[in-house]
């Protein structure tokens, strides 16, 4: 079929492999070889293609193509059968009233190439089909390489960040990590905490500054390696005594800081401090011998601070820590109320009856009256794991260091027995109570500031886990 004046159909097909010539009544007069791969052997326009644009309305499709050809408007035709490939192009009107369209693929090119299994030879060299496919593929390859690279960078950044916030010796947070934890805790107070934890965060947080007593002696006598071992042991104690959401930091030397969201109750804090001190006081076996240290703790609670004053919390906790040191070490000083009243708390180091024979050294702060020595559940404390439970249990000596030094029993005497099981589980490592008693000697001036607490509640170690 001769398509155009002077050009054979075959030549037209080679020149325009995607052309379509339609008579004014819709018969397909000529179609390029590539277009034939798409429309098949159809003989009539209406059998294979629908005119998408210009919108035909009620007009005969072939007529709208003629109109578009006359006006130079773009034409969009779509395959009636799946995959409903859209072809776009423009046309010109022949003398015989037929329309010659040159069609091409738009953005659906890749899809059509795949579906109709087209090759380089199916496209005219004037087109940019190969370039487009090349770009499509090259782009994807580069993006994939880039996203691998990004994933690696991300992992490295995370690792670097972890390193930057971690103390390499103990694995605890370092000073930077501590700052971040404090900021997070303060954000929590302003109601921007972790979703789902908002309640606990809003309840406030406590800050415990801890400093080892007697560490320098170990470090100086037995060397840094021994000191490092000891610091690692202390870090393990602190990690064991804290919850998942708490931050434990070693900002430097033998100082440790605990940030404990939601933990603000005085009894719970005192119990925690005493438990930590007792556990740190357990001798640590080192190649050179047993190292015995203790710890002093300063405690501040965010609920005692009006909004803008939070910044001084760390400083106050530090002051409290040194107050605890001045008061004889091996104890905690908790600041209470807006006036930061100092409440001294000291663990009970009195031996349980079963083990009392071994206690050669008088325990620090053991009350003269001996009211604390009798455990309420006396009969069961017969050494081993059970004895340890008792050892870890805490007698609280409370002191209001305000002015007169009047003993204040209230704080210590009203504590409730809430966590017997947890306490036992934590300490059931079979160590004898006697092991943890003689630290007082190492600390030296430990007994001086101790005020009796007749309450002696054989503190049942409220678990730190709320």
């Amino acid at each position: 079929m001769t398509a155009m004046a002077g050009i054979e159909a075959g030549d037209l097909g080679r020149l325009l492999p995607l052309h379509l010539q339609v008579s004014d009544d819709g018969r397909i007069l000529s179609a390029g070889p590539t277009l034939r791969k798409i429309i098949g052997p159809a003989r009539h326009l209406d059998a294979v293609l629908e005119v998408h644009r210009p919108h035909p309305g009620l007009v005969f499709p072939a007529a709208i193509l003629a109109t578009a050809a006359r006006s130079g408007e773009r034409v969009f035709v779509r395959l009636i059968r799946p995959p409903h490939t859209m072809l776009r192009g423009h046309g010109t009107l022949a003398r015989d009233g037929s329309v010659l369209l040159d069609l091409g693929f738009g953005i659906g090119l890749s899809e059509a190439v795949r579906h109709f299994n087209l090759t380089d030879a199916d496209f005219p060299p004037s087109g940019l089909v190969m370039e487009l496919l090349f770009l499509h593929e090259a782009n994807a390859a580069v993006l994939s390489a880039l996203s691998d690279y990004n994933a690696q960078l991300d992992a490295r950044r995370q690792a670097a960040e972890d390193r930057a916030f971690t103390d390499p010796l103990t694995g605890l947070a370092n000073r930077r990590g501590l700052t971040a934890a404090l900021e997070a805790a303060m954000r929590g107070l302003r109601g921007q905490g972790v979703p789902g934890r908002r309640g606990a965060d809003r309840a406030g947080f406590s800050l415990l500054h801890l400093d080892l007593d007697g560490f320098k002696a170990v470090n100086d006598t037995w060397g840094h390696a021994a000191g490092d071992r000891l610091l690692t042991e202390v870090a393990a104690v602190l990690s064991a005594e804290t919850r998942v959401g708490d931050a434990v930091a070693r900002p430097g030397g033998d100082e440790f800081v605990l940030v404990m969201p939601g933990l603000v109750a005085p009894e719970a804090l005192d119990a925690l401090a005493c438990r930590i001190i007792r556990r740190i006081e357990r001798p640590v076996a080192l190649p050179q011998g047993e190292a015995r240290v203790s710890a002093s703790i300063g405690i501040a609670v965010s609920t005692d601070y009006a909004g803008g004053r939070l910044a001084s919390m760390s400083e106050d906790a530090d002051d409290a820590l040194y107050a605890a040191k001045r008061a004889g070490r091996g104890r905690a000083c908790r600041l209470e109320g807006p006036l930061r009243r100092q409440v001294m708390v000291e663990p009970d180091r009195s031996p349980p009856p079963a083990a009392s024979g071994d206690a050669a050294v008088p325990p620090t702060g053991a009350p003269e009256g001996g009211t604390t020595t009798t455990a309420p559940d006396g009969g069961t404390t017969t050494g081993g794991a059970e004895g340890e439970t008792k050892g870890a249990a805490t007698n609280l000596s409370a002191e209001v260091a305000a002015d007169t030094g009047t003993a204040n029993n209230a704080a210590g005497s009203s504590r409730a027995d809430v966590a017997g099981e947890a306490g036992a589980a934590r300490t059931a490592d079979g160590k004898s109570t006697a092991d943890i008693l003689p630290i007082a000697a190492a600390i030296g001036d430990g007994t001086a500031a101790a005020r009796t607490d007749t309450g002696a509640t054989d503190m049942p170690v409220p678990s730190a886990t709320p």
Binding site: R114, E131, E137, A145
Partner: protein
């Protein structure tokens, strides 16, 4: 040199000679952390040092090693496909080498491949020259061209004559070339996206 070029070098050594060989090369050449990142830039001197050390370690002249690298690149499927987009037969491919740096530049503008010039010296005969002071490029290109002549199934003589690479395509359809379906890439992209 672009990180992707260095990374290709690393992958080539790892692939052909094992991770231990690469780590040895990297340590001797002073490659940071024993690996190259794809999207960083490295000093040319480091790249050249890696080439030199690799040659020593693998007991191969540098030029031979680089030709192997070029062939290895051309056999790497995504790269092979991208190269095949350049021409429908091998002679076509050789002529289109002039466009190669431009094509690469469209996707990786900072890769900075040297200019490639192709002169036709007779029927199926070409001289390919590389516009770079580094002869290393020519070795890589020669190796790549050899691998691509196999890929197209063409019989061609490819000789690095120093100033240029001489190509003599004696039989365009010497044996069956490897498949190149335009759409295979489209499909693999879909899989990758999933």
């Amino acid at each position: 040199m672009h990180g992707l070029i260095n990374r290709s070098l690393e992958r080539f050594v790892r692939d052909g000679y094992g991770d231990a060989a690469w780590l040895d090369v990297a340590a001797r050449a002073g490659v940071e952390e024993g690996r190259f990142e794809g999207f960083r830039s490295y000093p040319d001197a480091l790249t050249l040092r890696v080439v030199q050390v690799s040659g020593e370690r693998l007991a191969k002249p540098a030029a031979e090693l680089l030709e192997d690298l070029g062939a290895w690149l051309a056999r790497t499927e995504p790269i092979r496909r991208l190269l095949r987009f350049s021409g429908s037969d091998f002679a076509d491919f050789i002529l289109a080498l002039e466009e190669l740096p431009g094509r690469v530049g469209m996707v990786l503008p900072d890769l900075a491949l040297p200019r490639i010039a192709v002169a036709t010296t007779g029927s199926g005969q070409f001289q390919v020259s590389v516009g770079s002071a580094l002869p290393e490029w020519r070795s890589v290109l020669a190796g790549m061209m050899r691998a691509m002549s196999d890929d197209y199934g063409a019989l061609a003589l490819i000789i690095d004559e120093g100033r240029h690479i001489a190509v003599d395509v004696s039989d365009e359809t010497f044996c069956e070339g490897r498949d190149f379906d335009l759409w295979a890439g489209v499909d693999s992209l879909k899989v990758a996206r999933r």
